[in-house]
């Protein structure tokens, strides 16, 4: 008897265990399984038929609003505390205007890229989702993860179609179709040097405008403030050092991948960068910086963000940041240390051109899985073009969350007590320049934008959609090789740079770099021809 029971228990345990092994197949490693929570919501949307008392008059042009629906709206990041109150007010209006309600869902920033991927690939009901170049809009659109909007727009959202300029609609097209509604607010997310201006004045150091002056500034800091780390790059050294360096020193057309580069002036002359003489030269320079102690030996394991390190005084400079974030860092720093100053030189000033943000940078798309694409688009039109919807979802309730003072936005209370800070819903994509309200501190950013406006040239890189279907296993393998052999080189951790680069290149070629680069080059040239860029 006892043995029999033991057996049964054992059997049960085995079942449990083999289950836990197999469940791993479906979801990927990061441990994030966001797919579940939406399932319940999805169930609601299809049901709830209307009682028939539909509001005449509120119906927009050509869409059928006789059936009540709930829209699932997905945005990245964290939801503001007061979101339920905003949602309630929005729903009251939306029910009247479109016979629809909306549920605003937020992914939080933890593993957002995993969750984003799951939202689009598990077929769960999502009606509106944020898109950007950094969420790989081009790739997803190319793989048709979103619905094409070309025919939907004139029917469901004619006002929105007119509101967004034609050239922006053109710019977001992937393979000839529109897959996202671009934001129309013009801003710059180009980079520039950021440094402690008070220290520069104190020791009479040169103002960083290019790599040489930046290097001289770092040297000066090292000499005069031996305890302070001159510059920080953090673990994301590819973006914070390598791509910044290519941007300012080699005038790259954009953050090109796969070890290729082309200049802005001659985009068609695309060439391999990894393993080239220039690459070696650049890596040697980084190594010399590491040897001189300009940055930490353990940059790759740094846990603090470089912006935080700058504002709390553990580093004197970062190589590049965009105007908006620079301004935010400066505000944080001023609140901690009122007597410190921060300096900024946009790369554009040195390079002679700056590219305003590409329309792809902020947008909203309708995923393939959406059951109510028309209503979703009509609702999004309201978010952008209807002042009531727009102000409510950007700034909260006037008089509760904010007030308008001399034309400026003023938050009520502080960031702890206010349940809906400015752009609390991360509403970058549905910003409407006509209704936008700014804080006085934003004047600094506007000043930089005005300066860059004078030298603006179009962004010719972001519209490019790389299709890596044919080399995706090589690409995945390359990712490992890059992290293992290139990152230590960038971080100046490899004593013999030449040897290190050789190792990296041989491993890269083994992983199939050549195949990637050939295909990438072909696609890039085809893209240039298609868009008529010389």
């Amino acid at each position: 008897m006892g043995s029999k029971r033991k057996k049964a228990v054992g059997l049960l345990l085995t079942t449990v265990m083999s289950m836990s092994i197999f469940t791993a197949c479906g979801n990927n490693n990061g441990g994030s399984n966001a797919a579940n929570n939406g399932a319940a919501n999805a169930a609601n949307s299809g049901s709830a038929a209307n009682d028939g008392a539909s509001n005449a008059g509120a119906e927009p042009a050509g869409i059928d609003t006789s059936k009540k629906v709930q829209l699932q709206f997905y945005m990245l990041g964290n939801a503001p505390k007061d979101l339920p109150k905003i949602e309630e007010q929005i729903n009251k209006m939306a029910l009247e205007d479109l016979n629809a309600t909306v549920k605003f869902n937020y992914t939080t920033w933890t593993d957002w890229d995993q969750k984003y991927k799951l939202l689009l690939s598990t077929g769960q009901n999502v009606d509106l989702i944020f898109t950007a170049d950094w969420t790989q809009y081009q790739q997803y659109a190319k793989k048709k993860a979103f619905k094409p909007l070309d025919e939907l727009l004139p029917v469901a959202a004619p006002t929105l179609q007119k509101f967004v300029p034609q050239d922006m609609w053109e710019a977001v097209k992937i393979d000839g179709s529109i897959y996202t509604v671009p934001a129309t607010y013009k801003e710059y997310v180009t980079n520039g040097f950021v440094w402690r201006e008070d220290l520069r004045k104190k020791y009479n150091l040169p103002t960083p405008v290019d790599i040489d002056t930046f290097e001289a500034y770092l040297e000066g800091i090292k000499q005069n403030e031996p305890k302070l780390q001159p510059v920080s790059f953090g673990a994301d050294i590819i973006n914070s050092l390598a791509l910044m360096y290519l941007d300012i020193e080699r005038r790259n057309v954009g953050p090109m991948l796969n070890g290729m580069r082309a200049t802005y002036d001659k985009p068609a002359e695309i060439m391999p960068y990894w393993g080239s003489a220039e690459h070696l030269e650049d890596l040697k320079r980084f190594r010399s910086w590491a040897e001189k102690g300009y940055f930490s030996k353990n940059e790759l394991n740094e846990t603090e963000t470089i912006q935080d390190k700058l504002s709390n005084g553990s580093t004197a400079a970062i190589m590049g940041d965009n105007p908006t974030r620079f301004n935010a860092t400066m505000e944080t720093m001023k609140s901690l240390h009122p007597d410190w100053e921060l300096g900024y030189t946009p790369y554009g000033v040195t390079n002679g051109y700056a590219t305003p943000v590409h329309p792809i940078h902020n947008g909203f798309a309708i995923p393939e899985s959406s059951k109510n694409p028309e209503r979703a688009l009509a609702f999004y039109e309201k978010m952008v073009t209807d002042k009531r919807y727009n102000l409510l979802t950007q700034y909260g309730v006037e008089g509760v969350n904010y007030t308008v003072q001399d034309g400026y936005y003023k938050m009520l209370g502080d960031s702890n007590t206010n349940g809906f800070p400015r752009e609390g819903m991360n509403g970058w994509a549905w910003r409407n320049p006509e209704y936008m309200l700014f804080e006085p501190s934003y004047d600094g950013v506007k000043k930089i934008f005005d300066e860059l406006d004078k030298i603006q040239k179009p962004d010719i890189y972001t519209g490019f959609a790389e299709d890596y279907t044919e080399y995706q296993s090589e690409r995945a393998a390359m990712e490992q090789v890059m992290k293992q052999y290139l990152l230590p080189l960038l971080a100046g951790q490899v004593e013999n740079v030449e040897e290190g680069l050789k190792t990296f290149m041989s491993k890269a070629n083994q992983a199939g770099l050549q195949k990637i680069q050939d295909s990438y080059k072909k696609q890039w040239l085809a893209y240039l021809t298609e868009k008529g860029i010389q």
Binding site: T15, V16, R475
Partner: protein, 307 residues
């Protein structure tokens, strides 16, 4: 007897029991067996616009990236190696400490040390990585500050891959052994006092009692925990490795496991096929391993085997 009457009769006679089992069976069927259909993702080219079985069949192409970088052997070796060390050191240490704690007479002291040993289990890996970074970072780390105070040269811990084998194991044990220790402690409490009293009367000392009574009595718990652990031997402690090592390529040769490799490789693509392929590889490996080990255990002692 059972065989003669067949399964229907069995179902009929024990219908109440089977009815009680039903919810559990359903639960596993829906949550665990049904999703297994997804294994098929590993063999198709993922496409947003069609359903799973209409996607293009690509054979083993999705598995290619696993060996393309020439790392599969190293990764499998690392993953299994670490897990074996974790399992054995972890269990030995937990049993040892559990026996010690059990023999402590002071109730307060016992409870407090038990809690202190258990607490690290609740420390998040993110916090752990910050602690480790502050201990070992070259410029301001605790270790190097102390070394410099003593007049020694600072050490760049983050560029010495061999050292991290030791650190990873150490921090794993620090964090996790409290948990299995509590399980063993509970098993020890379940051992009848009679054995010990009889042994005492026969003149056995504390060591002899531990070695000849406690340890053999714990064997069952140990085997079950072992088999549990073996099933996931191909699934590394992702958080531990990812948080402690992160992007530091210098340390990969000794610290990269399949999970971190897959995460890193597939972060740049969104291909369901390749992610599933990696999962299938791990699961098959784990499944094979557990079948073999269970067969061995069955041979040795039938009662200890899981099935």
């Amino acid at each position: 007897m059972l065989k003669k009457k067949g399964i229907l009769h069995e179902l009929y006679t024990n219908k109440i029991l089977f009815l009680m089992l039903l919810p559990t069976l359903l639960y596993f069927l829906v949550n665990n067996y049904l999703p297994m259909i997804g294994i098929y993702y590993a063999f198709v080219q993922f496409d947003f616009n069609t359903s799973l079985f209409k996607m293009d069949f690509v054979g083993l192409k999705n598995f290619e990236f696993l060996w393309k970088s020439g790392k599969l052997v190293e990764l499998t070796f690392n993953t299994i190696g670490y897990n074996i060390v974790f399992i054995f050191l972890g269990n030995v240490l937990s049993i040892f400490v559990a026996i010690l704690l059990n023999d402590i007479k002071g109730k307060w002291f016992k409870k407090i040390s038990q809690s202190i040993l258990f607490l690290p289990y609740f420390v998040s890996f993110v916090i752990l990585s910050v602690i480790v970074f502050n201990l070992f970072n070259y410029e301001q780390g605790v270790l190097n500050t102390v070394l410099q105070q003593l007049g020694a040269d600072p050490v760049d811990v983050y560029s010495k891959p061999k050292l991290w084998i030791f650190f990873i194991i150490m921090f794993y044990l620090w964090k996790n052994f409290g948990y299995s220790m509590v399980i063993y402690l509970a098993s020890i409490t379940g051992i009848s006092e009679d054995y010990y009293e009889a042994a005492k009367i026969d003149g056995a000392n504390a060591f002899q009692r531990a070695w000849h009574i406690t340890v053999p009595m714990l064997k069952n718990t140990f085997v079950i925990l072992l088999l549990f652990a073996l099933g996931s031997i191909m699934k590394g402690q992702f958080d531990l490795f990812y948080q402690m090592i992160g992007n530091n390529g210098l340390l990969f040769s000794t610290t990269d496991i399949i999970d971190t490799y897959v995460y890193r490789s597939l972060r740049v693509t969104f291909d369901m096929g390749m992610a599933t392929a990696a999962g299938v590889y791990q699961s098959l490996f784990g499944f094979t391993l557990i079948m073999i080990v269970n067969a061995i255990i069955r041979k040795v002692n039938k009662d200890y085997a899981l099935f």
